[in-house]
Every structure is written in structure tokens, then in C-alpha cells.
Symmetry: D2
């Protein structure tokens, strides 16, 4: 079994992307009998999805997890749902700053993650790693690739499972920004390994409350 994990190159003025740093440390390792393959994805509208599809074609993974940075979050947050909109508050790495355009025109409003997000959160917390379900991946390139991924997997016939996991700033980023939460790289890496393991082991997701009142 193969698991494809992707990370973005840095964006928004940052020189480091914790997602990419964490993802690099997973490359080539084996988890629960599965081989982890990693890829760097450009933080660019369209090109990111193209790069991801190419990687899926090359690697032929059973599981695909895109990982991205969520500045301001303090926990590892598997995303529940990808929505079909690009509404970029800042430009991407090639200067695209679109407002309210579809990720994939003429396509559904949203796709659910097919990762066992509740089980991932439960197992991370069990390991002492802060985690929560997130109900919005935003409307920037993270949500863009998440939607692009889920649309592609659905069009392939759902032979692979996939989803998106947001991770916090690294401490060295927070040290420069001041007033922002962070998570140490080794904890993020342990969290992602546990998330991969939980996904491999799960037939179906568990039922724990992960909701928000609003």
C-alpha cells in the first residue's frame, strides 16, 4: 500500500512552510506496512491541482493526504469539507487573487473528506497531541487543492481515500510574528504519522462529536 502526502511551498511572505518541513520528514518511511511517498506542491491556483494529479498518477497511492499551514490555529485540524470556491484574500505565489470563482466550474458545491477525521482527532489526543476537526479549510489555496483532490478522486471512482490536514505555525515562525500559537515540528511529524496510521487502520470513521455550535 502507498500513501501520498503533499506539502505546499512557503507563501504569504513566509520563508518556511511547516507543512513542507513536516512532510519532508515522512518521505520514504513505512507506516503500518504502507510506504509513504511525499511531494512538494506549488502554492498556485490551478498548478497545485495539476501537480497533485500528476503525483497521484505517478505514485498510484491508496491514500492521499494534502497538508497545509493554518496560521493562527493551535491544533492539528483534519478538514471535514472542501468547498467549490476560490476567494483569495491575498495573492497566491504567482500573483493570482481571484474572488468567488469556482475551483472546478460546473461541479458540486462541496466534497466530504474521505479520511476518518474523527478517529484521527481521537488518536492524536490520546497521544497527547492537540487536535480538532475543522469545518472550514478557508477559501485560499489549501481549500483549492483539497477540493481539486476530492473532485479528482470522485471522478476516478473513489478507488482512493483522501483529504486535507491543517497544521499550526512552527515555533520559529511564531517567534517572528509575535502573538501567534505554534507547534513544534517533531510533534507535527508525530501527529501526521499517527493520522496516516489511523487512516490505514480505519475501515470506517468513528462517531465522536467534532461539531461546533456555529
Amino acid at each position: 500500500m502507498k500513501v501520498l502526502i503533499t506539502g505546499f511551498d512557503p507563501f504569504g511572505g513566509e520563508t518556511v512552510n511547516p507543512a513542507l518541513e513536516a512532510v519532508k520528514q515522512l518521505d520514504g518511511i513505512e507506516i503500518a506496512g504502507a510506504k509513504v511517498v511525499t511531494r512538494e506542491i506549488p502554492t498556485v491556483r490551478g498548478k497545485s491541482i495539476a501537480a497533485l494529479k500528476k503525483a497521484i498518477e505517478d505514485v498510484q497511492p491508496e491514500i492521499v493526504i494534502a497538508v497545509g499551514q493554518a496560521g493562527g490555529r493551535m491544533e492539528i485540524t483534519p478538514e471535514r469539507i472542501a468547498i467549490n470556491v476560490d476567494d483569495f484574500r491575498i495573492p497566491d505565489n504567482e500573483g493570482n487573487q481571484v474572488i468567488d470563482e469556482a475551483v472546478v466550474p460546473e461541479s458540486p458545491a462541496a466534497y466530504w473528506s474521505t479520511l476518518p477525521i474523527k478517529k484521527i482527532v481521537a488518536e492524536l489526543r490520546q497521544e497527547g497531541i492537540p487536535a480538532s476537526v475543522s469545518n472550514s479549510a478557508g477559501t485560499f489555496v489549501c481549500n483549492h487543492i483539497f477540493y481539486g483532490l476530492m473532485h479528482h478522486l470522485q471522478q476516478e471512482g473513489s478507488i482512493r481515500r483522501g483529504g486535507f490536514i491543517h497544521i499550526p505555525y512552527l515555533p520559529q515562525q511564531a517567534a517572528k510574528l509575535s502573538g501567534q500559537p505554534s507547534m513544534a515540528l517533531d510533534i507535527i511529524v508525530r501527529g501526521l504519522k499517527k493520522a496516516i496510521e489511523a487512516t490505514i487502520m480505519a475501515k470506517t470513521d468513528e462517531r465522536h462529536s467534532g461539531g461546533t455550535i456555529c
Copy 2:
């Protein structure tokens, strides 16, 4: 032209629901030539949607706006998207506390609001009223009725426009809770009137960024 506005009865231990207090003040008024009709909706899974459908049938409005309380938010937030999941962190007013069940089984993952949410935010800010687009209505009864509404409007053939607007706690609620933001009732009422007017006047939504990075 008629506009139907709904508010929930109080929930989560509160004795007042600011949504309902605000909505009551709109009953029977005229905005931009349209008559505003209001209804109270039970904060109960299923019954809330049934009550809303009944109200639509009775009133035959061109526009339907459900209004709900978002404790912890500091602005009036029109919601962008309703998602097809009930994941109740607390029980509703009849004790239902479901986890990860569909609002409407065998139905799309999500529906877009058909209110001009960007225009509403722009006009409220213009009036000095704090407002932002929200990309998640949560997974409790607010999202439940929002999804139920949009599904119903779509099944009717999209002859009516509709959506959901979240409003903050009232000051008297925040005074008891401590450490929570709030908004004065008269500002909420002014904001909802402006939102109704913007919806009546808009043929299509404007294009302003209302996105979040994550």
C-alpha cells in the same frame, strides 16, 4: 414582495435568543417596498425545518432569511454555505444530540446561500456596522435549518432566494457570561434591515474579497 425572516427560540441554557429579539422588531415593517413577515422556529432537529417549510407555504415570500445566534462572534456574519451534516456538540431543545448524520439523506454535500452576502457585508460596514462573510455555519441547528432551507428552495425550483445570517450575543448575555463579545440589539436590528434591503435591491452579488486563508 414579501420577505420571511425567522429566529430561533433560546437554546444552550440561555433565556434570551438575540436572533428572536431582533427578528420580532422586524415583524410587519416595510423595506424597499417589501413586507417583512417573521416567524419563531423551534431549536430542534427536524421540527425547525418543518416549521420553516410551513412558514414558506403560508407566507409565500420571495426572500427567506433565517437568523441565528453565534456566541463568541463579534460581527454580523452572513453565511456562505450550508453543509449536509448534523454533528451536535450540545443537545437541541428536545434533547437530540446526533453525531455525523445527514440533514437530508441522499442529498448534496452543501448548498450556497443565494443571498448577496458580499454586498450585505459591504453595505453594513458602510453603515458603521461590524460585518464579515462566514465560511462555516457550524454543525448545529443553525446550519441544520440553513441546509434544510436551501435544499427546499432548490427543490422548489429556485423561485425564492434565501440564506442564513449569524448575529452576536446581546450585551445582557455577555454581561452574564463574561469575556464574550456582544452587539447592541438596535445595531443588530439596523443591520438586519440593511441586509434585507441589500437583498431586495441586488440582482447579483458584488465581488469583494470575503475569503479566509484557512
Copy 3:
């Protein structure tokens, strides 16, 4: 009996200072038999204290309350303690941006407010107005004038009571800034009136917990 209330002119790029707007509405009114007199104070190191001392000399009040804006706070917050340091993260209105200098050299590290801060908070909450005790007035011009005031009152022989109350942004400020809490002007005015009344009526402060763990 006379009560002197001061408000700052706008600072930090704002064109309105809610403290001043609120204070203006109190000018000349009578509360619990006392006359309220108000003064505008420049947001400038040194000059603000000089203006305040001059106002005290002119008005001869029994009670002095300086009011200032605390962007980001969501409640009316009477301050507990003034500290003898100026550490200005931004320049004041005449460009002074000092770091770690004393407000009054060779003077105590801090002075307690002599307002009944716990009673004020209790009475505001009773009225449905969000309020909390604050344990830090910051290190900018608000703390500067608060320290200058308490030092002056102590040197006079404590014949007058005094202190500082922070108030939130107004809604029109929050509408421009986005993502900031606010409080309606009429609620701030009601809150300040209640605070003045509580101060006049109190012989000593009440004992309610207003502490923070850190």
C-alpha cells in the same frame, strides 16, 4: 460634589476616540446629586498629565475618572493598578515613542485605583452591561495618565478619589477594522454613568472576585 471625567483625543490612526465621544455626552449632567464636568486631554506623554492637573485645579472635583479606548477589549474594564513605566509600542500624538522610562522619576512602582472597581463591575453586569476588572492598563498613554493621576492625588493627600476606565471600540471603528469587538456608544455612556454613580455611593469597595489566574 463634582466629578471630573476626561477623554483622550483620537490616536493610532483613528479619527474618532470612543472615550471622548462618550465623555462628551456626560458633560454637565447630574448624577446622584453630583455635577459631572468633562475635559478633553491630549494623547501626549507629559502634556496629558499637565492638562489633567490643570483640570483638577480648575474644577476641584471629589472624584476623577480618566476614560480611554482599549482596542480589542469587549467589555468596560475599570483598571486596578497604574504602573510607573512608559513603554510605547506606537508613537503618541506628538511622535514620542519612549521605551522603559518612568512616568514620574523617583516614584513608586505602582498605585492602586481608588475607585470601587469591584462594585462598578458588579453594578454594570447587573444592568446587563459587559464589564470586568482589568489588571493591566498597558504601558501607553492610558497607563501614563492613570499613573500621573494617582501620583498627583496621593501627593495632594488623597482628598479626592480617582482611577481609570477602559472602554471598547465603537461599532463604526470595528466596521472598518474587521475582526474586532465593539460596544455601542449609548451602552458605553450608560456604563460610565453607572460607574460614576457607584463611585459616588460607595464608601468602600465590595469584595467580589475579579482576579485572573495569570
Copy 4:
């Protein structure tokens, strides 16, 4: 040269106190030619100060740093000032829950830290460790021991330097609490070592802005 570092036993329902865990790892190490000695202090009004004085008498350190947990903070925060008040929102570990009593009756309102707090923050950030100056240590046992320490050092004739540093929750605490920031133990330990080194090396503090507007 000897440096005394203290940590509290767990409080507020926690089974772990990150301050204590971090402090334990410093015991007996040498930093910049100085020997680090550590002590556990009870989270109890009065007894904590007695235990600290006893430790100072035994160890005869040139530098004393008390370390405590600040749930909700995301950075390592050296405290600027200790205030002479106990206002306990929750009971301490022996059930004391006093309101507005002096830490040391008939004593000054506040004492400044004699640690180089600006230099500590600058050096931690330089190392990629999130840090900020804090202007309030709260009104619970952390501020209590901080005030007790500074009062004692002043009464001794200021032959030793001292202060208080707050640290965030550990990840395993945040994993149970949900929605709270945290910092990995090894980063906290590195941060405290750097703070000790900065204190040993500093003759006087540096002048960087560490202020807050309010």
C-alpha cells in the same frame, strides 16, 4: 555563581504542571559557568513564599527565577511587575480563595522584576522561541510568589536578582482541554536555559519596546 529556579506543583485540576516538568530538567546543569539548582514549590498562599525563602537561604543563589504555568498563553512570557494583591478566582491547593488581600500587608503596591526581561525576549525570539513581555502576572499564586520573592530580595538589600517567567500549557494538557495553545517541553526547557544565560550575561537590560497599548 548559583541560579535558583522554582516550579509549582500542579493546580486547577491539572495532574501535570509544565513549569515543574521543565524546571526538573534544569536541575544540576551548568549554564555560562553558573550552577542551576531547582526546587518544587507548593501552589499555596503563604506556604509558597515560605518555601521559596527557605530555598534561597539554603542555596544562596545570585539569581532567582520562579516559573509558573499560564494556561491560554502561547509564548514564554517574562513578567514585568508583581503586584501586592491576592484575588484568587479559584482556590489554591489548600483551598484558600482570598479576595483582594495583600500578599504582604503594609508593603509597596508593586515591585519590578530585576531580570533583563527585554533581553530575554529578544534572545528567545532570536533562537526561534516565541516570547513576549507580560505586564500582568495575574492575581493568583504566580503573582503571589513573584511579589513575595521581590519583596524578600528588596528587604535583603537587592544582593540577588530575581523575577518570574510564565510558560504555556504542554501539548498533552492542550490535547485534553481542546482549543488551547501549547508549547513542547523541550522548547520550554531551551527557552528557560536561554533566559538563565541572558540573565547571567546581562549587566543591565536592553531597551526594546515590549509595551502594549492597553
